[in-house]
């Protein structure tokens, strides 16, 4: 990953000598910087994505309208070709899911790092929560991208 | 068993003087610093106004002029060879500080900015000259920080919060010190080839004082107890502008920027006492003038204080009256004197931009101290014999450049110039000599002394003794002195010393026992108060910071000489080393 970008500086910039002297030096560790920036950018994106999803599901519609049919109309049915509309919903939810999970995972990492100083404990929690979050995300992506799998009920969905 | 350490060079005290010495010594020998405070807590950080050097960045200036001002400021008691070194090396030393990173304020063309300060003048025009290099009104803070930073860079070994309580002086050579590690209460023996005392001043023997609680004269009093003399102890400077009742200092930089004194009648009374320099006359002159006004009933509301006025419109009015073309506004004053303005706002609850500030003289600076030669080597007697391996610099020492009265900004110059010379000399000395032997038992007397205080079960309370000492000193050994007053004070001090033998402290513990250390420090103050009063009593003239109402004139025939005093109270005098400048009447 690129570390500190090489600065562009004019000859008459008083800091020039310092830049030249500094160029060789680059932070060894950019992870936290990237994580920090990611939290802000993903947060901003989530304002739109998460709030619009919430609005859609809880204000325009409600949980009480949440039926399998409604789900099918968003994500389609496994094995059937999807319409453009379905692909739009799939993409929207995939992005939302991905960003929210990564944002949440990194947030959780920050919290665990703060409170669990005993390294094995911290890493234990980290591995556990990463596995859990990745597992749930992959499962979520499966239904998103493949559609509702009526077969998993063992019977046809008739309503 | 005490812990044992060995270093080529050991510096006691981490103020400007100590750090400068450590920095230079550490360039070539194994150096350590012990300090009872974290280095950045040293009182050098309180110095506000500036550090003088004839850089000539603002207007023509010469180090010779600086030297003359210093000698004149010192009422001709300064040793002039030392003054020459001070003023000549000041230029180089200030540049040195800049190279170390000190963030001086700058002129428009990028050079170090300078300002006017009391007693500093252009010798030809007799007008105040801009000589004090400054970083807002935090010059001392920046010096202290910069030197500490450089010491860290140079890997100087620090023993923070270690308090020296004894020195190992055997056969006229110093071989180390004994110190307490405050955190654990353990005794440590520091074995060294060269030791420097840079423990700062002792202004806490007065009540109204600009000095820190920690300034209790540990270094000078340990030296005294080791059989060494102290020099010129009667010369103590009272700074004219301390915040009323608290003593917190408002730098002379305020007057450098144009502030003036006014009395109850609204008069600029300094015009009467110092027609040329007026409010920028030297400190002893200003302090006495304030008290003369107070005695004449011109104190504010008849009380014992006057106003320092730095309201911009007033400053401009007086600039105009003086024919000075400068003008200031509130923004400028705030920028140049941010800290002292804040002090006034916080501690007095008034705004100096719109109201005059009540001030009174405050005990400030010891001109006297441990006598040294030009390389900061400590002198054994009035004949110039030296104590091998022992050095002193800073306020604890007396070179003597300040003579009878120190000029503003010259202390910081003293720290870095003689700190540096001392540091270099220590390294040189340490490289040539071997460690001299010390016994396994050297720390025993110090240990016994501390335990003596800890376990003493008398009835006297150290807090009470300190309070009484401060009151007597303020009353009789202050700006104005008389034979009767000094004799009374001496008797009181001796009485207090007797009572001190029967003190009792509450904290019998070992770790971080400030009760114990404060009681020990009180012992130092009592010792120094006694020799101060003795020296003052013997000097039957008025000179610089020492003003005898019964001998109001300077007496060059009998007293153009330095006082040396020992712990058994015997005294001797030695001549002042004169040079280009012959004593003249001192007018500002």
């Amino acid at each position: 990953m690129s570390m500190i970008p090489t600065p562009v500086i004019a000859d008459n910039n008083p800091y020039r000598a310092r830049y030249l002297a500094n160029q060789k030096m680059k932070p060894r560790n950019a992870f936290e910087r990237v994580a920090w920036q990611f939290m802000r950018y993903s947060g901003l994106a989530l304002v739109f994505l998460a709030l619009s999803h919430w609005g859609l599901q809880h204000l325009i519609n409600s949980v009480h309208d949440l039926t399998l049919d409604a789900t099918i109309s968003r994500w389609g049915i496994a094995g059937q070709t999807a319409t453009l509309e379905i692909w739009f919903w799939r993409a929207y939810y995939a992005v939302l899911l991905g960003l929210a999970m990564m944002h949440g995972l990194n947030g959780l990492r920050q919290v665990l790092y703060d409170y669990f100083h005993y390294r094995p404990l911290y890493w234990g929690f980290m591995v556990l929560s990463t596995v859990l979050i990745v597992f749930v995300s992959v499962a979520g992506l499966a239904v998103l991208l493949l559609g509702v799998n009526a077969a998993a009920t063992g019977a046809a969905v008739v309503r | 068993m005490a812990q044992y350490h060995q270093f080529d060079a050991l510096v006691v005290g981490a103020g400007g003087a100590g750090l400068m010495a450590a920095l230079y010594a550490s360039k070539s020998v194994n150096t350590a610093v012990i300090s009872k405070l974290y280095p950045t807590r040293s009182h050098t950080g309180a110095a506000q106004g500036g550090i003088s050097a004839a850089l000539g960045n603002m207007e023509p200036d010469k180090w010779e002029w600086h030297a003359y001002d210093t000698v004149k400021g010192g009422d001709f008691l300064s040793d002039q060879d030392a003054v020459d070194i001070l003023c000549k090396e000041a230029v180089e030393a200030v540049i040195d500080l800049e190279h170390m990173g000190l963030p001086f304020d700058r002129t428009a063309d990028g050079k170090i900015s300078q300002r006017r300060f009391g007693g500093h003048s252009n010798n030809e025009t007799k007008q105040p000259v801009q000589r004090a290099c400054h970083a807002a009104d935090r010059t001392g803070h920046m010096i202290l920080q910069t030197l500490y930073q450089q010491c860290i860079k140079n890997n100087v070994r620090f023993f923070d919060e270690f308090q020296m309580i004894d020195m190992i002086v055997i056969d006229g050579t110093c071989r180390g010190v004994v110190a307490v590690e405050l955190k654990t209460g353990e005794i440590h023996v520091f074995h060294a080839k060269a030791v420097m005392l840079a423990t700062g001043g002792f202004g806490k023997m007065w009540k109204i004082s600009s000095n820190a609680h920690s300034l209790t004269g540990d270094g000078p009093s340990v030296a005294l107890r080791c059989g060494l003399p102290l020099q010129d102890m009667e010369f103590y400077q009272f700074h004219p502008t301390g915040i009323y009742k608290m003593g917190i200092l408002l730098s002379e930089a305020a007057r450098g920027e144009g502030a003036i004194f006014i009395n109850d009648k609204g008069e600029r009374f300094m015009e009467r006492y110092a027609p040329t320099m007026k409010d920028l006359a030297s400190r002893d002159v200003c302090s006495r003038s304030i008290y003369k006004e107070v005695r004449a009933g011109n104190g504010i509301g008849g009380k014992d204080y006057v106003y320092l006025d730095f309201r911009p419109e007033r400053i401009n009015k007086y600039f105009e009256a003086d024919g000075n073309p400068r003008r200031v506004d509130a923004e400028y004053i705030e920028k140049r004197l941010p800290d002292i303005i804040e002090f006034v706002r916080v501690y007095m609850g008034i705004d100096p931009i719109t109201e005059p500030v009540p001030i009174q003289p405050t005990a400030h600076y010891a001109m006297g101290g441990i006598p040294t030669d030009l390389d900061a080597r400590v002198l054994l007697d009035e004949n110039g014999a030296i104590v091998h391996g022992l050095y002193a610099a800073g306020e604890a020492a007396c070179v003597s450049v300040h003579g009878a009265n120190r000029l503003g900004t010259n202390s910081l110059v003293d720290l870095i110039v003689f700190g540096r010379r001392g540091g270099k000399k220590m390294a040189e000395f340490a490289k040539q000599t071997e460690f001299l032997p010390i016994s396994q038992e050297v720390h025993k007397p110090a240990e016994a002394m501390l335990n003596g205080i800890r376990n003493n079960d008398g009835k006297e309370h150290p807090g009470q003794i300190r309070k009484e000492l401060q009151l007597h000193m303020d009353e009789h050994v202050g700006v104005f002195r008389t034979k009767q007053g000094l004799e009374a004070a001496l008797e009181e001090i001796r009485g207090l010393k007797e009572r001190y033998k029967r003190i009792h402290i509450d904290d019998k513990g070992v770790q971080w026992n400030t009760d114990l250390m404060e009681a020990w420090e009180l012992g130092c103050l009592l010792d120094l108060a006694e020799v101060t009063a003795i020296s003052a009593l013997a000097r039957q003239e008025s000179r610089g910071g020492h003003y005898r109402e019964d001998f109001p004139d300077r007496d060059d025939k009998n007293f153009l000489k330095h006082t040396n005093v020992w712990s058994d109270n015997h005294m001797s005098y030695k001549p002042v080393r004169m040079g280009r400048y012959q004593p003249t009447e001192r007018k500002y």
Binding site: P7, A21, P27, Y113 | P103, R138, K183, V346, R466, Q511
Partner: protein, 235 residues
Amino acid sequence: MKVHFKIKRFNPEKDKKSYWGEYDVEAEESDRVLDALQTVKWEIDGTLNFRRSCAHGICGSDAMRINGRNSLACKLLIRDAVQGGKIVVEPILGLPVIKDLIVDMEPFFAHYRAVMPYLINDTEPGERERLQSPEERARFDDSTKCILCACCTTSCPSFWVRGDYVGPAAIVQAHRFIFDSRDQGAAKRLDVLGEPEGVWRCRTVFNCSEVCPRDIQVTQAIGEVKAALITGRID
């Protein structure tokens, strides 16, 4: 006026746990809290321990938690501190308590040293001063005021939970050099501050800025360092 002091006491030689010492002190409204503590020590109970030196807010010795918030005891007046006739004094948080109000400052200074708080410039400076314009000087003026009192660092939730965080004070010190036009060590310092225990652990809580007795814009300094790390530019 009479003020009731509640002071957190702990003596490592005697106590297993800290306890509250209670004292009634006669004090003027315009006295400093430090003056009242001195009165307790000098007149009521000599075993009370705290650090102090200058008594006017420039040495940074006496940071403590007064009525729940960090402050220098010598810079807070009784009239501003007292709440319902009472003042509660505790040691600053996040550093090990040694005795009463005295904490171990070593971890704090270790962080300070970690950011290389000294001018780095290996070029030959010449006979005279290095030049610096008043604007360049003003760029880092705010952070030169720091007195290393630790009020900020020990008010920071990120530091409390994990003392490895270099803390606002060290960042302010780094800022003082990073933005000094004479310095050439910015990249080395940014390297340290970019580490996991560096600036990124700041969560923009502002407790630090609020308590700084020197009115340093601490969070702003931290923000400028973050910006320098992100953009690679220091202007």
